[in-house]
């Protein structure tokens, strides 16, 4: 596989964010969204194409793991935490559907 295109990387970023957002548990959701953002920002100006390719492949693996993890997390949804805004809870299934439809650029 050649080095991923800009569109492929952006698509992976979007998919990872969506998958991270689909966690039901507040702490996991917050962590994975933050983690995804941080990791993409950290490598924003990466120039080495071999490095980009390796990171992209890592990202694809990570996406699979996060989707599985989030799906299992939604199965056992418990009460919400006291710090969560009760007004706008994220729909527990939004991520799963979006993730399936999105697909990977690979």
């Amino acid at each position: 596989m050649a080095s991923p295109t800009r569109a492929q990387v952006l698509s992976l970023y979007g998919n990872l964010l969506r998958a991270s957002n689909s966690f039901y548990s507040y702490n996991f959701r917050e962590y994975f969204v933050r983690n995804t953002r941080q990791r993409f920002r950290a490598h924003q100006s990466e120039a080495d194409s071999a490095r980009i390719k390796a990171l992209y492949e890592d990202g694809l693996r990570e996406l699979n793991v996060i989707r599985q993890a989030a799906a299992m997390n939604r199965l056992y949804a418990g009460p919400r935490l006291v710090v969560e805004k009760s007004g706008t809870p994220p729909s527990p299934y939004e991520g799963g559907k979006a993730g399936e439809g999105g697909g990977d650029a690979s």
């Binding site: 917050e30 996060i66 993890a69 935490l81």
Partner: protein
């Protein structure tokens, strides 16, 4: 006809015997009731029958759960007791809970091979985190078992020649209790005191060593109540001078949180817990050095798994989980540490800026994810009761049921009242800023409310020095 008469005769005889015993003996606990009295007891009138009756669309009986009022879960801030399992770890474990169920010790078929491969991979992942060789890792059921196995095993193996073990007063209960057991068996144990910041004095440790007599020095890396980090590298370098003295460190709270290298730190034995590194409960590991070889007497005997040190079939899914947790911890240690440090500073600053008379217990340069604060003139347990929306502990989970002040804080030289008013905040990978801000708000509000009720606080405000009061006149 025949059976019927037999039955009636035996019934009559039984009844006769029953009435006979009734008249002779006193009431026993169980009174045999006559057959005709037995009937089905209906539900009492106070119970609403509609709860039990099935609705039209139901296929059978089903108790309708009473809908609980919308209740929120408290914030979890007790990461020293246990950490939530990372969802990525669960994802890695699931295949071994479902389809790949082989016994890793089965050498004759593919089910065993795939499980063995998974265990070997996990072993390498655990070893990498502490800079060890994969063959030096022994899987156990947790840090308590590792500590027991090591402390008792090393001491007992060398009991013919060496009967002295050194540990510290602030160790976890499982090390202290193993040492107590050893002292019952005739071993001599030195419990080293700690300085007021919780760190041991190296000179004092060196003075306690009896060359040729001491077999083991066991000092924990990160304390579970105060977060104090012991100078393991210096201790290891110092102990190297004494041949035959093995160095064990209980790193349950340290693994995955601070960098560890068993070779650089000269550690011979080390304990790891799965559920303190965002892994599953019920699994742990022990590092037992092979070169130069550390020998210990196993506690469990059996099939000779794990180099004969810990017999018993390995729990493949849990071990895979521990391995995955360790590999995630290694990858994200720097990011996690920076974040935990930032949150911990935010918490300490937020609380101390708005509440007076707060004392931080333990060394300031300890692990930032464990913040132990004492709130003067407030009783720790009542503070815990009032903070319903935060899951906290005043000390170790093992002793959280008792009202005794923490022995760790007492070893640091904390006064009894300060040890009673302590709270331990555990911050971890999944803690957020919003949670910390919420906690600060609640702590500030609750402490000032409790202090307003306290006569001691009133006296302090009036400028009376509490230590000058003669309390015996009451």
């Amino acid at each position: 006809m025949l059976s019927r008469s037999l039955l009636s005769r035996s019934l009559a005889r039984n009844a006769k015997r029953a009435s006979g015993t009734l008249s002779q003996a006193r009431r026993t606990f169980v009174q045999p009731s006559a057959v005709d009295k037995a009937n089905i007891v209906g539900t009492p009138a106070s119970v609403d029958d509609s709860l039990f009756t099935p609705r039209q669309d139901m296929l059978g009986f089903k108790l309708e759960a009473v809908k609980s009022t919308e209740k929120n879960r408290p914030i979890y801030l007790d990461m020293q007791a246990t950490t939530p399992m990372d969802p990525r770890v669960l994802a890695a474990m699931m295949p071994y809970f479902t389809d790949m169920y082989g016994n890793p010790h089965s050498r004759t078929h593919a089910y065993g091979w795939e499980a063995e491969q998974a265990v070997d991979d996990a072993r390498a992942q655990v070893a990498k985190l502490i800079g060890a060789d994969a063959k030096d890792i022994v899987f156990t059921s947790g840090a308590t078992e590792s500590n027991n196995m090591i402390v008792k095993g090393v001491a007992r193996f060398h009991k013919e020649k060496k009967k002295h073990v050194i540990t510290t007063q602030t160790e976890h209960k499982c090390v202290l209790d193993s040492c107590r057991k050893l002292s019952e068996e005739g071993f001599d144990i030195t419990y080293l005191p700690v300085q007021s910041n919780g760190v041991i004095d190296l000179a004092e440790l060196e003075a306690a060593i009896r060359p040729g007599e001491t077999s083991l020095v066991s000092i924990m890396m990160v304390n579970n109540e105060t977060g104090v980090i012991q100078p393991i590298e210096e201790i290891g370098a110092m102990l190297r001078k004494y041949r035959g003295v093995y160095f064990h460190t209980d790193a349950a709270q340290a693994v995955g949180k601070i960098p560890i290298n068993v070779d650089e730190m000269n550690i011979d034995l080390l304990s790891i817990s799965g559920h303190k590194v965002y892994g599953p409960k019920g699994v742990g590991a022990a590092y037992v050095r092979r070169r130069p070889r550390v020998r210990l007497e196993p506690i469990l005997s059996g099939g000779g798994q794990e180099r004969g040190l810990r017999s018993g079939t390995l729990p493949t899914p849990l071990i895979v989980g521990l391995g995955e947790a360790c590999s995630i911890a290694l990858r994200e240690m720097d990011a996690d540490h920076a974040r935990v440090k930032a949150l911990s500073d935010r918490l300490i600053k937020g609380v101390t800026a708005r509440v007076e008379h707060v004392v931080r217990n333990g060394d300031v340069n300890g692990y930032p994810g464990c913040v132990n604060l004492s709130f003067s003139y407030v009783e720790g347990e009542s503070l815990l009761m009032a903070l319903k929306e935060i899951a906290l502990s005043s000390g170790s989970a093992c002793t959280s049921a008792s009202l005794e002040p923490s022995y760790v804080l007492r070893a640091l030289g904390a006064a009894e009242d300060m040890a009673h008013s302590s709270l331990r905040f555990g911050i971890g990978r999944f803690t957020t800023e919003a949670e910390i801000d919420f906690v600060i708000e609640r702590i500030v509000g609750t402490v000032s409310k409790l202090r307003d009720m306290s006569p001691l606080w009133e006296m302090v405000q009036e400028g009376i020095d509490l230590s000058t009061i003669n309390w015996s006149q009451h």
